[in-house]
Symmetry: C2
Subunit: 205 residues, 2 copies
Amino acid sequence: MPVEKETEEKIFEAARTVFQQRGFDGARMQEIADIAKINKSMLHYYYRNKDNLFFEVFQAGVKKIFPQVFEILSREVSLIEKTTLIVDFYHSAFKENPHLPSFVIFEMNQNPERFRAFFENHSFEIPDVFLRQVELEIEAGNIKPINPKQFLMNIISMCMMPLVARNLVLSLFKMDDEQYGGFLEERRVIIPDLIFKGASTDRGV
Amino acid sequence: MPVEKETEEKIFEAARTVFQQRGFDGARMQEIADIAKINKSMLHYYYRNKDNLFFEVFQAGVKKIFPQVFEILSREVSLIEKTTLIVDFYHSAFKENPHLPSFVIFEMNQNPERFRAFFENHSFEIPDVFLRQVELEIEAGNIKPINPKQFLMNIISMCMMPLVARNLVLSLFKMDDEQYGGFLEERRVIIPDLIFKGASTDRGV
DNA sequence: AAGTAGTTTAACTAAATGGTTGAATTGTTT
DNA sequence: AAACAATTCAACCATTTAGTTAAACTACTT
């Protein structure tokens, strides 16, 4: 048997699962070790301590999302196409990592100072080309005047909220997993539609 | 000195603060006692154990929000008025309890089974009158066909997401507290506007 | 095959944490 | 003021948990 070079990776994967599901405080080093099927000491051998291991997981989570969203925002396509692309991205990205969004949000609220620096270092900047694009569309009279950040916030809110609040939605709307899946699927059409056309017909409300 | 009848209440208030800020796993009974300025044993005297105390706090948090939202949804006013009322309610309710929304969401994702029963017992039902109202407005041709639950989800998403993800918004948009406050304020107009009229002018995008 | 560096393990430690106990104190009733 | 119940407290306990250590094992180099 060769020394499975994957040990470090097995640890990381297990840590990702446990941290995202339980949060920093709820995560147990022993559970991570058990899931990775290695001795607990290996965690410290490879990652020194819990803080460190957590931060690797957190960092990887953030890096999996933001750069891709920003890349989409930077493309040379119309606003409405970008909206659709982002909606699709969110819905597929979090299908694989259902706990990721609430994990990031909760941990950031928990310990804001800790991540302020991280975000500044990595300069996750909203692409300038997107901000200007919104302004151009406004000037051209294609969309109503709006702060581009609000425009983006609207899209992200509509996408993320049902994912972040998954169990709240299940309880309130009395859905099972299948109905929830269908509910999300419906939103891939609803969201771009609302963002660009609103709920009203020309007769008004 | 009389026996401050408030002891139980002081404990509850301290527990609310600590649990909402740190979550169940991050909360320390000793910290709650310190903030309440009482002996740690009092926590157990009045609330038996951590689980119990937590549940009281969680329950109170949920009961502070949902009944009021449902009450608004049940009123005999137009859909657009309801929307504005809900937006206003969310923005003022969470100004006082900034951690409440992410607290409830995180804990529900953490331990879904635990709260499933609670939600079923308390029958937080989306008012029928609201669901029918949406359908009536659709039939009358005032709003475009939409699943009423999606309609509600849209409003709640637009309201809650910026509140839940407060520190993410601060980091990504590089805002200070004041700018964030202004950003939220702007949304009180933007949200009903988007829900009912969308971003497009009649020239389209 | 001997030596060496990297890897893995079981056993251990120190600190923290939720919870308990029994005595002391306070307030109320008679 | 004596008796009694409710409340408060300091000291304590059992368990859990992150982290350490030193020995054992593996694979590679010479």
